[in-house]
């Protein structure tokens, strides 16, 4: 107890209390009067809020889909490649792939803005005539890809850690049993890294629905053009602090934050009860 106390206190004061207080505030108006579900009615009923909310939520799911479809499979592929013993300089590759993860989002955003700039960027050389960050159609996929590029090192390292823990014996036994490389992966390696796939997926989900910084850095609070890159994080920011002429509303901000919390909570519950209980982790 004594040893747990400091951590518990710090965690409570800085994590649990703000969370609960934020939830509480979503039931009060900006003057501190109890408002029941009024804020939620406004959020889902008033088109100024509702349209933006559903837009942002949709964009956020797209953002998440990009990470699930690209970042995690690529991370896995890179991890598998890193376990190939015969390649020289594996450590160098590992470092290179992991490097963007260590950079500040501000730098990453800035660098990519330069790279993709229609004025001096590479787009013209590559024969792309659309400003990728400037058009509603392309801005969200482009930002997703930048984020994937930056964070792909995380799933890679996670998968790598699990892959190298799989005893060589198992792989050799399956090869002697007659399995080719693909069958070894499908029948032996993949089932054994499945628990890690779940962990990475839920971390991606939590990270993506809390995402804010890259879009804020590249496109600002209004997440343009025409809110095409707006996700929950930027929507929350505008609602709480206000932006471009509108004043913010702490009460409405708290309401948006509470909904975000619920979305993430649902995801975590699905992971815990729908996945974690069915997928067994084997001691190797």
């Amino acid at each position: 107890m004594v040893f747990l106390a400091p951590a518990t206190v710090i965690y409570s004061v800085f994590m649990v209390y703000p969370l609960l207080d934020s939830l509480r505030r979503s039931f009060f108006d900006d003057d501190g009067n109890f408002a029941g579900l009024d804020n939620y009615n406004t959020l889902f009923g008033n088109p100024t809020f509702a349209d933006r909310f559903w837009d942002a939520l949709g964009h956020n799911f797209q953002f998440f889909a990009f990470h699930m479809v690209l970042q995690n499979p690529i991370g896995l592929l890179l991890a598998v490649l890193l376990t190939v013993q015969s390649v020289r300089g594996l450590n160098i590759y590992r470092t290179i792939v992991f490097l963007p993860t260590t950079l500040s989002v501000v730098i990453v955003g800035f660098v990519w803005r330069l790279i993709l700039s229609p004025i001096w960027g590479v787009t013209e050389t590559l024969g792309i005539d659309t400003p990728l960050l400037g058009e509603s159609r392309t801005v969200l996929p482009t930002l997703s890809l930048i984020s994937v590029w930056q964070w792909v090192g995380i799933p890679m390292i996670f998968f790598y850690a699990v892959l190298i823990a799989i005893p060589k014996d198992l792989i050799e036994a399956s090869r002697v049993d007659g399995a080719g490389s693909w069958q070894v992966f499908r029948d032996i390696t993949f089932p054994l890294i499945l628990p890690m796939l779940g962990i990475i997926s839920i971390l991606t989900y939590i990270g993506n629905f809390n995402a804010f910084d890259l879009i804020y850095q590249v496109k600002g609070v209004v997440a343009g053009p025409d809110f095409a890159s707006d996700i929950m994080g930027t929507f929350f920011y505008r609602t709480f602090f206000g932006a471009s002429g509108t004043t913010g509303s702490p009460a409405m901000g708290a309401t948006v934050a509470s909904v975000m919390f619920l979305i993430i909570l649902v995801g975590v519950l699905i992971y815990m009860f729908g996945w974690q209980r069915r997928v067994t982790t084997y001691e190797l």
Binding site: E172, G178, G180, Y282, L284
Partner: protein, 393 residues
Amino acid sequence: MSELRLSGISKVYPNGLRAVSDVDMDIADGELLVLVGPSGCGKSTLLRMIAGLEDITEGVIEIDGRVVNAESPRERDIAMVFQNYALYPHMTVRKNIGYSLRLGRVPKNEATQRIEDTAAMLELSDLLDRKPPALSGGQRQRVAMGRAIVRSPAAFLMDEPLSNLDARLRVQMRAEIIRLQRNLGTTTVYVTHDQVEAMTMGSRVAVLRDGLLQQVDSPQVLYDHPDNLFVAAFIGSPSMNLYQGHIESTSTAARVVFGAHSFPLPDQWTQRDGSGGDDGQEVIVGIRPEWLVEQTRDNTDLPSLRVRVELVESLGSELVAHTTIDAVSVESDTPELAEGHVADSGGGAACLARLSPRSRVAVGETIELAIDHPSVHLFDAETERSLRPGRDR
């Protein structure tokens, strides 16, 4: 059902380490050949080369006359049992055993039948739907065997399959493997570092040291006629007592002298032409502990050794006396030997003797041990090769 032929097999790792050097071996159809040697002698590497898990640097491996050097493990049709069993933890026993059949696209009915037959043979029928983590060590070992048996492969390769079991289970499984191998008649190469296992299991035993094949023969021949000092020291438990000595030969008689002791050079040596009887030749004298007996009225004709008893181990069926003798012992580099020998103390060398359980030797006593000298082995001190009478090499 196959015969294996290894010709001039060597393994050199990229870092220059030579794990296996120029091994020639024929393994007959249905034979159980044991590869034995201390850790790091290259026996596992050799086995893995046969399995196709390790590239062959030099030489040729043939299965039934077919060169398999370039073939993948899949194509070689060889089953392997691993030291840690290497069971797939996420598959049930049924799937573990049947995995190779699934990969080989064996029809489902046939596969089920074969899995169940194998399980019955190994008394695993009740465990088919369990997963490996829920099995005991012995059960896991049997599943690993089942995985090999179900394929009816050209050969079994076993890499120390019993070393993770406790002593009692090990003896039991040892008998089990011998029985299965006889019934199935599948050519088997069995790797172990345990010379007792090697002696009890192999129809032939190949002794390996530093990647070099020392001797391949039946267990009895290895014991009776070791080709060199290493094999002599490695085979037998407790291992052979080895002392530096030389031959003193005159026109009438020749004696083997070591330390303060000597015995007449047995007839078979003196009659031999050449090196055996040369005066002053440096030799290593090898005396198995079982060739030493207490001197009694019945064996006064045998030469005797005077030893001082340091420790007596009573094993019920026999009594192992750790004694010191006035001689210089030869340190062989086998770990087994290092274990058995007490470090030289007080100007004496260690000497182990297996005596009758009724013997009354007591610690601290100085006793006379009779030595069955015609059995004694002599090795050339330089080459460490056996100076073997009658069997020229």
